[in-house]
Amino acid sequence: MSLSQWRCRSLRRVAVVGVGVTPLKPTTPEVSYKELIFDAALKAYADAGVDPRRDVESFVCSSEDFYEGTSIFDEYVPDQIGGALKPVCTIAADGIYSLATAYMQILTGVFDVVAVEAHSKASDIVNISPIYDLALDPIYVRPLGLNANFVAGLEMNAFLHSSKTNLMHCNKIISKNRKNALSNVIAMNSTNAVPRRDRVLSYPLAEEDVAPLADGAAVVVLAAEDTAKSLRDDLVWIKGAGWASDSPNLETHDWDTATYAALAANQAYGQAKITNPVADVDVAEIDDTYSFKELQHAEALGLAGARKAHEMLEQGVYDLCGDLPINPSGGSLGMGHTLEMSGLVRVIEVVQQLRGMAGKHQIAGDVETGIAQAWRGVPTASGAVVVLSR
């Protein structure tokens, strides 16, 4: 859909009124997934000043069965978020998709307050590789017996080749994000250490290019304008939401370009009336499941000219103190990668930045507009974008 088509649509205003997130950790043996989610829900409802049993009218959760080890996992979601005997549904995707779903539900006029949940209990998974393997095409790709990270290897090589980006740029992303994470209290992978490239997973992809898996839970509460204004003063508005997919077949998807991110951004920017993202966006939290993805996504989101993201990176534009900080939270490389929660934890970071409540990694200056973006990981070509403003 073109930008002009979005202009003529007048939509209800929807705000983020509460956020809650648990610290990200490599493992959380002390709590079950329900108990982890309950913690995040308590925080979010306290932040919003709502009672979920009384005030929240609908709940949208995010999960995939093979990440949980349970079929029909949506069975296990209502109690710990206060949703029992209420409209609750699961979107099998990243938390930003669920946020977009909640946004749509409020836009219909049927609900005023909707909660969004996403989590990762990655430490319950004994070994992630066989699960990624199950996502590969069973006829054409899986029989090759290769680790699914070969897909990231092929994409990375294609991207480096066509964008003239090099491994030093990838290292700089890793360093920047892990360093940013040093001042983020929920991050688990913060360090000043120099990235190493000695353990290659799928050339050119090395182990430290890959964000380590983390456990965590996140809940975000959205409300329609009138309700939102009655709940708090420092509202953060959803200005646009987009989600899109390129071909799901590796053979026909773009190897070197994040087309899904560009399409999703076009949708979200269209709603938000953003025409020049470099100028209009003050902070961006974007997917960095693999180091190179941050640059590829920055380009797709219009935060750099085509094939120019590495130059912006070199100039320090994306640094915490740069003109357009990317991943001040530390991103997945610095915070840890939380599967389908990856996007929602970024939404929470942008909300805190816009509120001026990000703590030690609060970016300087006036923060008016931020974006959060998610990608669903290999072998998908799907992702979502949300534009948030004060």
């Binding site: 079950s32 108990e35 049993r53 080890g69 430490s123 319950d124 004994v126 070994n127």
Partner: protein, 165 residues
């Protein structure tokens, strides 16, 4: 508009004979779920021959299996309570099939056991020491435990529930 549905139905023999091409695959996904605060406590209780529940300080509901929250009041549950190992059959079935639908000679009798003094609350278990035709909804039953040294902190530490008579 009447539809002309598409689709190519196959018989099992056609697949077994490889009349059409297939790929076989064994998934290797493995999990080790952290049982957390509430279920760990429940399972430790079972190891000790006890059924542990929780009671909400606000609404007074008893929950078994226990949880750290009351889903109706949405607050942390207040109190751990020890429950009796007796209850009534809320509903039951007489099952002649195993998990993969193969037939079994001796039927299994799954039931929801409403634990005494826990209101509506109970859990799924098996009825034993009784003829299938004698099982009734509302029947009072008691847990039959594994010997203490054989218990491992599992729902199967209770072998089954049997009528108290």
């Amino acid at each position: 508009m009447p539809i002309e549905p598409q689709g190519t139905g196959l018989r099992e023999e056609e697949l077994e004979r490889s009349d059409v091409l297939t790929v076989s695959y064994q998934p290797m996904a493995r999990y080790a779920w952290a049982t957390g605060i509430a279920i760990s406590r429940f399972l430790r209780g079972l190891k000790d021959g006890e059924i542990v529940g929780t009671k909400c300080d606000q609404c007074g509901r008893v929950a078994v299996p226990p949880r750290i929250f009351c889903e109706w009041c949405f607050r942390r549950s207040g109190t751990w309570i020890k429950l009796p190992d007796t209850g009534i059959v809320n509903t039951f079935s007489i099952s002649y099939i195993s998990t993969d639908t193969t037939r079994v000679k001796t039927p299994t009798i799954p039931a929801v056991i409403q634990i005494d003094s826990a209101g509506n609350a109970g859990f799924l278990h098996i009825i034993g020491d009784v003829k299938p035709e004698d099982v009734k909804i509302g029947m009072h039953v008691k847990a039959v435990w594994l010997e203490p040294e054989k218990r491992k902190g599992s729902i199967t530490d209770i072998r089954y529930f049997k009528p108290t008579r």
